[in-house]
């Protein structure tokens, strides 16, 4: 089991992309963590059929 990348993370400064609840990004800012909040919205307007087609196209 290769966990080198996890141990590398333990030695680094956290750099976070937050996808979803804004409050989690606010928390991290208070803890002086570099965080970028994404403007997430349901893909394809939330249409499940279109999403599954997109996933198939993307492999």
């Amino acid at each position: 089991m290769d966990v080198k990348k996890i141990n590398e993370l333990f030695g680094k400064e956290l750099k976070v992309i937050n996808v979803g609840l804004d409050s989690f990004a606010e928390t991290l800012r208070k803890e002086k963590v570099d965080v970028l909040q994404m403007d997430w919205r349901p893909p394809a307007g939330g249409d499940k059929h279109v999403i599954s087609l997109l996933d198939k196209l993307g492999g």
């Binding site: 990348k5 750099k15 208070k30 939330g46």
Partner: protein
């Protein structure tokens, strides 16, 4: 009188919208208010509360629905104004903090190419898709969202294992990486104890107990609750976590925490722990601790887990702790509490916000021979006819979906528990309320403020009827949390609530009181 507005392409997150709905509902003249995204689940919810209409039917998951029921047209107008203002403020606040919010992961990586962790908390239906995208880009993932299928979880964890990445979750509510608390986590000191936990509130309780005992945390990894329980997952993330903690020079002691695991996964985990060459403490909730295996110790409750880990981290002898043997003062207090009660008061009512905290209390009561009904019950005989009405001794996980559909979790918003406290206080059979309070990031800013108010009212109602309501609680948190544990504790104690140092000790004191209650009326 109803009013329903749909705003196309206006997306807001669920926690914000639930709190906004609650604020609008409190406005005078407003009977019901729901501000939700137009997902299938939310539209069903609107039907359930009689706020569905033609306009709402056209809403899509990207559209915001403001649904109101008021007594007068003026009240409705005012509520609409408040809703619009709240939403506007939210949009502006986001704008002030950041110049630009990318709409895709690719866009985000252009701005922050050195990103190493993605936290995902979007609705469950879309969550696995986002997590796959992040793993594909070589990023570690913390997946807070729940309602992700086991099939998706297996797939995500297989991908993560292949790439050597963390895939914490789904349903991973808390973690501490490099001393930074993520999502719902407490501010604890750094130290030599590393955790891999398949339980959110359990991880919080153990890390806070470690902090109280003077120990510290190197890393605390969440795996998601199913990692060891679901045989198809085979404890994949727990095993990766253990391996990473084994190789982490800061970690001198490893703690593993989980609800009862699948047999095969447990065997693999234990054998892997033995191979770490580091002292380890294992706690499987609800299971009797096993005999020590080499450098792997087993603990009987979460506070003991912390005590053993702290002792090991100091190179001290580690034995099963007897520090929770009945204390004379506490036994006397239990007798006194029961002595004030009226004849009709016979039953325990446990009202918990943390699932694992509830499970720990339930297990202790069952070990002590009490028959408890619960929404967590596995045996049909212990199930409640309705989770909304207590029967006999009842212990509830109020964070369960059955209570939280369309409402904020009780750790975020105390009103769900406030309502239930009032309900229990109106029941002449209620003898004792047992509760948890969870502090830390993500949680309510002052949970014990409103809780103390509810407890005070409940005690007064019971006293008016010639009874006495006993209330026992514990607070999972630290003085470094922004709510400050010491300040929170004072608020509960000021209304006559007995606040114990840990969830286990609170449950144990509740057992002592309930034994007195049973003895008194036998």
């Amino acid at each position: 009188m109803k009013k329903i507005l749909v705003r196309k392409n206006a997306y807001y997150d669920s926690v914000f919208l639930m709190l906004a709905s609650k604020a609008i509902k409190q406005h005078p003249g407003i009977k019901e208010a729901a501000v939700v995204m137009g997902t299938d689940v939310n539209l069903e919810l609107l039907k359930g509360i009689g706020l569905f209409s033609g306009e709402a039917a056209s809403a899509k998951p990207n559209d915001l629905v403001i649904a109101l029921e008021g007594e007068t047209p003026e009240a409705l107008e005012e509520a609409c104004r408040i809703a619009e203002e709240t939403l506007k403020k939210k949009s502006q606040r986001g704008g002030e903090e950041e110049a630009y919010r990318p709409v895709s992961l690719e866009g985000a990586l252009k701005i922050i190419p050195e990103a190493n962790l993605v936290i995902i908390s979007v609705p469950g239906l879309y969550a696995a898709r986002e997590a796959r995208g992040a793993l594909h880009k070589g990023l570690h993932v913390m997946l807070f969202s729940d309602h992700v299928s086991v099939e998706d979880e297996v797939d995500l964890k297989e991908r993560a294992t292949e790439k050597g990445l963390l895939m914490m979750g789904p349903d991973c509510g808390t973690a501490i990486i490099n001393g930074k608390p993520l999502c719902f986590a407490n501010v604890v000191r750094r130290g030599a104890i590393g955790l891999a936990a398949a339980s959110g509130s359990g991880l919080q309780e153990v890390t806070c107990c470690i902090d109280r005992m003077g120990g510290g945390i190197s890393q605390a990894l969440g795996t998601g609750g199913r990692d060891l329980q679901e045989p198809r997952l085979r404890g994949r993330m727990m095993l990766m976590g253990i391996e990473a903690l084994k190789h982490d020079p800061e970690t001198r002691v490893i703690v593993v925490l989980s609800k009862p695991p699948a047999e095969e996964s447990a065997a693999t985990v234990l054998s892997r722990l033995e191979q770490t060459g580091k002292p380890c403490v294992v706690h499987f909730l609800g299971l009797k601790p096993m005999e020590r295996r080499g450098a792997v110790w087993f603990s009987g409750n979460m506070e003991e887990t912390a005590a053993m880990a702290v002792a090991l981290s100091r190179g001290e002898t580690c034995g099963r702790s007897n520090s929770f043997a009945p204390d004379k003062d506490l036994l006397e207090r239990a007798e006194a509490e029961a002595g004030h009660m009226s004849r009709s008061q016979r039953y325990l009512r446990g009202l918990f916000a943390g699932g694992t905290l509830a499970l720990e209390a339930l297990s202790l009561f069952e070990q002590e021979g009490f028959k408890i009904r619960s929404n967590m019950a596995k045996e049909p005989g212990q199930a409640l006819q309705s989770p909304h009405r207590s029967e006999g001794n009842t212990l509830l996980d109020l964070g369960d979906d059955v209570f939280t559909l369309g409402k904020p979790h009780p750790m975020i918003d105390p009103s769900l528990r406030e309502e239930r406290i009032a309900q229990e206080a109106a029941d002449p059979e209620t003898a004792l309320l047992l509760m948890d309070v969870v502090l830390g990031y993500g949680a309510h800013e002052d949970p014990c403020g409103p809780l103390a108010e509810s407890v005070s009212k409940a005690k007064a109602w019971m006293a008016e009827r010639g009874g006495y309501l006993s209330v026992v609680a514990s607070i999972t948190g630290t003085d470094s949390d922004f709510q400050n544990k010491a300040e929170q504790k004072k608020k509960l104690e000021s209304v006559g609530c007995l606040v114990m140092p840990s969830n286990y000790q609170a449950a144990l004191q509740a057992v002592h009181i309930m034994k007195q209650v049973v003895q008194r009326w036998m």
